[in-house]
């Protein structure tokens, strides 16, 4: 089976790789680009830990056929920090103890970024809705919700 050439933008940089037919974007990011920030949880769409932004929209990378992102722009947690500084959302997660084991955190941060990029001052219900596709096995939802609200309210220093 021949390899398929694939080009897209990854956190603002152009990348060119070769994928096998049927490869999902999560595998392409982790194994071919070496971006380990999107995590593999279930491979079924159920946990959200592989969430990335495609052209600014939240998608599950494990359910995205790699070939379909040709020419598009992918953002992962790896591209979130702003130079040497943490993104306000990352800062808020640290300040509000929003990570326990941390496995869900990359996906939750992408879901939160998708929300705040579109709606800078969401209600609590909107935050809950925005992360409803992300499972935290440590079940620390309250601190996560508070952290996202704190980042939105600008009450954390970047």
């Amino acid at each position: 089976m021949s390899k398929i050439p694939l080009q897209f933008r990854h956190n603002g940089r152009d990348v060119a790789i070769f994928v096998d037919g049927g490869t999902n974007l999560l595998v392409a990011l982790r194994e071919l680009i070496g971006d380990m920030t999107p995590k593999f949880g279930c491979g079924q769409g159920g946990c959200g830990t592989c969430s990335v932004l495609i052209d600014g929209e939240l998608h599950l990378s494990c359910l995205t056929l790699a070939e379909t992102v040709a020419g598009r722009s992918i953002e992962t947690l790896d591209g979130m920090k702003q130079g040497p500084n943490l993104h306000p959302l990352q800062r808020a997660f640290a300040d509000n103890f929003a990570a326990q084991c941390g496995y869900c955190t990359p996906g939750v941060l992408m879901a939160a970024k998708a929300l705040l990029d579109r709606n800078p001052s969401p209600s609590r219900d909107e935050v809950v809705e925005a992360i409803s596709g992300n499972i935290c096995r440590c079940t620390g939802y309250e601190p996560i919700i508070n952290a996202i609200l704190a980042a939105a309210g600008g009450r954390v220093s970047a």
Partner: protein
């Protein structure tokens, strides 16, 4: 196993390949196809895509609404003219699933999925399909009854008539996990009123049979009557007739039969 991905510019080319290759699967949003590939489903040897603009077109300005099969639930929610379909679209998955999943794919989604299709069934939608034979329109009920045999056809679009009022169309999904979660049961009702009487009642149920079904006995109980307490009670007690739910992790068949009438009564009487 690696699969071959075939991308076509036109829907008709994609339809031609789908109809001639049993191991080819059309890729809509991929939420179910990619899950199957990730699980190592070897019955899929190639994946077919079409980048045809017609598949993502929305025509929602008039009384008859047509939605391309490739329209995502997020697109439905972004469209003000599609307000009557917002509740079903919002009831599906989390935000990422709504950004990816399409209404075409929903027609094929097995239990506990297929919520949007329940709404379309109550709205007497028409499904436009293309196969080796060319394109044709199929009433959604007929489409669903023969769903197993639709494997080689490409759905191009779905169309339905806009309900005359918000009161006339109602939707309710019962789930255990909120705000998202698979359907325990899903109900949709279309109740056009003419001269104070219901004319053309449609009740559709999800997760009450292998595919979405119409609750015909409940419809008969409503037809030609006014929507009063006695009529609602008669429809609710007829709700299980013709159903054949199954057990799954979200609920038992017994439980589904117990609650369907209760939820139909609430839906018809406008209770939360």
């Amino acid at each position: 196993m690696a699969v071959t991905v075939k991308t076509f510019a036109s829907a008709s080319e994609a339809a031609g390949v789908l109809s001639s290759d049993r191991s080819a699967r059309y890729l809509g949003g991929g939420t179910l196809v990619m899950r199957a590939l990730n699980e190592g489903d070897v019955s899929i040897s190639s994946v077919v895509r079409a980048q045809d603009q017609a598949l993502t077109r929305i025509d929602a300005s008039g009384p008859r609404v047509t939605l391309g099969a490739g329209i995502t639930f997020a697109r439905v929610l972004a469209e003000r003219d599609l307000g009557f379909l917002h509740a079903p679209a919002r009831s599906i998955g989390g935000p990422a699933v709504r950004n990816m999943g399409t209404i075409g794919g929903n027609l094929f989604a097995p239990n506990p999925y297929g919520d949007f299709t329940v709404a379309l069934l109550a709205l007497d939608a028409t499904v436009a399909v293309a196969g080796g034979f060319g394109a044709r329109d199929i009433p959604i009920e007929e489409f669903l009854q023969a769903r197993e045999r639709q494997a080689g056809t490409l759905v191009l679009s779905v169309s339905c008539t806009r309900p005359v009022s918000t009161e006339a169309f109602r939707y309710r999904k019962i789930a255990r996990i909120k705000p998202k979660g698979g359907s325990v049961i899903t109900l949709a009702a279309h109740l056009p009123i003419s001269g104070g009487r219901i004319a053309g009642a449609r009740i559709a149920l999800g997760s009450m049979a292998p595919t979405q079904i119409r609750a015909r006995a409940a419809e008969r109980a409503l037809e030609g009557r006014s929507l009063d307490a006695a009529t609602i009670a008669a429809a609710a007690s007829a709700a299980t007739e013709g159903t054949s739910p199954s057990d799954n992790a979200l609920g038992s068949a017994w439980y589904r039969r117990e609650i369907v009438g209760v939820h139909l009564r609430r839906l018809l009487s406008g209770q939360e």
